[in-house]
Symmetry: C2
Amino acid sequence: IIKNNVQRLIPGDEKSESAKRAFAIRRNIGLVFSGGPAPGGHNVIAGLYDEAKKYNPESRIFGFLSGPDGILESKYIEITQSLVDTYRNMGGFSMIKTGRTKIDSKNKMELALKTCMELELDALVVIGGDDSNTNAAFLAQQFVGSGIKVIGVPKTIDGDIQVKTDDSRILCAISFGFHSAAMSFSQNISNLTTDAGSAIKYWHICKVMGRVASHLALECAFQTHANLTLIGEELADYTDQQRIEKARENGTVDYTAYGMTLRHLSRVICDTIVRRAASGKNFGVMIIPEGVLEFINEIQVFIIKLNKIIAEYNHTHDINFHTSFPTLNDKLEYLRRLTRGMGDKDKFPIWNLRDDDLFDQLPSFFQEGLLVERDTHGNFQFSQVKTENIIMDMVKEYLTILKEQGKYKVGIEHSYFKSTMQLANIIPDKFATAIFKDPKAEYLIIKESIISLKTLKQALVNSELIGSDDAVPQSIIQIFKKSDPKFKTQTHFYGYDGRGADPTHFDCNYTYNLGMTAFHLIANGATGQMAAIRNLEKKFDKWEPIGIPIAKLMHLEERNGKLELVIEKSLVDLNSNAFRVFKTLRDEWQAAESNQDRYRRPGPVRFTGNTEDDSPIMLRLNSI
Amino acid sequence: IIKNNVQRLIPGDEKSESAKRAFAIRRNIGLVFSGGPAPGGHNVIAGLYDEAKKYNPESRIFGFLSGPDGILESKYIEITQSLVDTYRNMGGFSMIKTGRTKIDSKNKMELALKTCMELELDALVVIGGDDSNTNAAFLAQQFVGSGIKVIGVPKTIDGDIQVKTDDSRILCAISFGFHSAAMSFSQNISNLTTDAGSAIKYWHICKVMGRVASHLALECAFQTHANLTLIGEELADYTDQQRIEKARENGTVDYTAYGMTLRHLSRVICDTIVRRAASGKNFGVMIIPEGVLEFINEIQVFIIKLNKIIAEYNHTHDINFHTSFPTLNDKLEYLRRLTRGMGDKDKFPIWNLRDDDLFDQLPSFFQEGLLVERDTHGNFQFSQVKTENIIMDMVKEYLTILKEQGKYKVGIEHSYFKSTMQLANIIPDKFATAIFKDPKAEYLIIKESIISLKTLKQALVNSELIGSDDAVPQSIIQIFKKSDPKFKTQTHFYGYDGRGADPTHFDCNYTYNLGMTAFHLIANGATGQMAAIRNLEKKFDKWEPIGIPIAKLMHLEERNGKLELVIEKSLVDLNSNAFRVFKTLRDEWQAAESNQDRYRRPGPVRFTGNTEDDSPIMLRLNSI
């Protein structure tokens, strides 16, 4: 299992007589969904069913109910032609449901084997994410003696299962469900771009799913051309050159110069908001990946430390941390005790005074978030934290400061200013010089010193445009008020709705072929492999079904405070074509200068057209 | 203006020579969007433009920029063929944008007239909601002397502009944008029904826009068959018969018996959750209208009182209430002062001790919400309050109590119990009698007295199925654990995304015809009328363009603490066919018995098919 290689599949008509016989064996195949739903799952079943029945109509397919629990508890249904036809091309995993139980102990492995043997299975197909495919590999190992094959199918809307060879040839470009979820999110986000540009009143803040990687956010950026999209991987990669330089001069190293801080991120966001406002656009759409905080320097440290503290507590005390410390105050008290209990100098203090100090500065709802119960994999549940609120609270705070400093202003269109002055019979030039930074600019920005009606009057008096007893002309007041920005936001979270969307034409075809591939792998005698399609970005006749040995994808990772073998999640590669194209185009999408917004409306999920014309943009860019 | 009647429009080929001449006059027509965007607005422009140019290619159409501000400040563009072609059938109001300024003072009226006269307008078309159409009527009155006609067009996704004659014949069945928004929301909500039934883990709580009326929630219920939909109008209509009876026996009247309280509502929701869980479905989808709290007895009182207090403060002090009292504590302190300052016995205390006491019991984020800044119409901004959290917090609290009482349990499928017992070689019958309420039911409910492993063991020992030193069989523990519900929710808000959606085929045609109708009204010499289409629910050849006199729709309403003439918003009529059909079918959709979920997937906004086959379900039901 560990040593097998990428499996190439031979088309039916090129097969040897012995291979043909192997395909025609009557088989029992079980299949199970694991983890959150993703569009296209039903077509994996359909592809597997159709292909198995094609080679032997006597073969039987069983679907385990409600995820891995169905295997452990021997709860299943037989998949019939009528079930397959009912659910073909439909979203969700409604036919047999899904669950999050992990088959991760010796006892559970044995229970699973018992169920599979009683059902006289020839093979088990596990449709799931990185963890579930990891599980599939371990099950394959466990089942070797029994002769039952285990095949994985790469499912996750997050798009973080991507496999390359050592020499960077793509084996699995993307997991299924990614495209459908991205299109569903993008339809909603593009509706918000329309709203933003019509009501010219709101910044729409859209958090999109993606617990670890920012692939979905990146794809939504390509699909919608939203004004600002945060890519977590880029934030983590950031280095503060000034600080590094300064440290070098002092002959030291400043570790805090690597990776972006929450404070710095809020400054970057404010920069876009302020520059768009200066060009008359005090509105916009921003995309934030659900897991962005995990890429922020100080948060990363907190999560690692708290994960460890909670896991260690659970391990040592045989009682759950959250049961022992139900309220936030209880938890904070425990942390404080950790810092105080540092008398023992041999022990490296995991939670030191600096941590405690930094942690104290966070808003309590975020503290609570960081201390919240971990999911069944021991992961921090980012979906439970209002990431967008944490970031936007800091943004709002800083915008208030910028406004007080006179640096956050709405730019006034030159023609608007001129016609307003004409209506009021005021000759614009002198007034423009008195109140605007650059009176010749296309968008006129009120001087930083003018931040109130009082300072406005002072400027006019100083320029001798009005006497100190005169009133400020109404039209000038009108211009001043127009230049005074309100920052209004609406936040949105797109995730579960996209997860439950119907599959796109691309995902429909992709998943049906994954199902067929899974059958071919079984018929070829493979086990511990993940079904995949190579050349996904090319025309359909170039698609190549393969099997990828799962064991080779694994690496060691800390889970629940213990090192475990798992499949590495693929993050957004900052050297990929997709990211580099994004970097090239994002200034244009930001429209922070006088250019127009370049919003794009991808429209709804469609079932027409060629698959290859409507696949993830990221996929096509990365294949160039 | 006040006395004119419903205007019937005569088709071009039936017109008299004089009418034909009237149509062919060269005209300048201005148009303006007012209020939030709604899908179809661009087609109103297209219909008006095409029809005006058809009768006289020399006629010119001007679009005022950024809403009524464009009129006040004389900012406009001329609508060209190329602009019309670019935006035809597109969502949003991006072409000329919109704004929320009200032309509600004498000064503003005069400014508006000045702009319109300088542009030599023959007519002004105001595309907006109830307030904007009210405004249109006042402008029409103001413009009478100048000969400039003012025509309104009924726009609001909330669907609360509906007009009937006194004898209940429908003149305007629905405002434009309603169908598109409902379809956009419904696509997302139906995705969540798929997710709910696949992951079998979450209750998805969907708040949908609709500040006052619950039409959008009702239409989404028809489109998706979500398990529970709250209709605000029904809650307000609720009467507590027990209390009324009791008061009658005592010879008193209990005013608190009329209308549903927040607490009672949370009980009603819990009932659905508990009953679905009992039939094995500890998940679901719930739709909550944005404005539901306004229909809740005690909240209604708070809003009226606080609106008055804030308006009075602003009026008396010439400084804004929110400027004087920036923090929640400041505001609470002011309210407390009001109750204390009741020494003056002549003054009826608007905020009494009982109010203060009740208000104190609300969570502080909701207090803050109730005291938040009012919108420009002086309305309470419900979209700023997390309605869904207020309700769900109470639901969660009560579910915890029900769980402790053993009343909230997941029902175990009979066949599941049997096969689990068989696997464990346990004869099911005796155990079933010991632990289940009704051992013969299709879904088995654990007895209320069994709420822990300890009480479970006790029940088995009492039934002499195990000795007091024996362990509880693993399979029984497995059944018990399955019956123990976790209540997990995900909340969603759909509003702005639907507002910015592309128009449905129905809205595309409806709005284009509204635009044409607006031109016909102008050419017929009408003013102060609202363009409408009668027989909207029928086949297209039965559609009948009419003009509805706006003044007749008005009634007195309190705004900013003052009585004003406004168009009455149409609420969901509890005697309408639509509501009665909803009441008949909702038990089935709730699926709180052993029946299956009946979720419906309406799919995305489509541009194909017959208009009349894809119009609001509510509309079709109400026309039967």
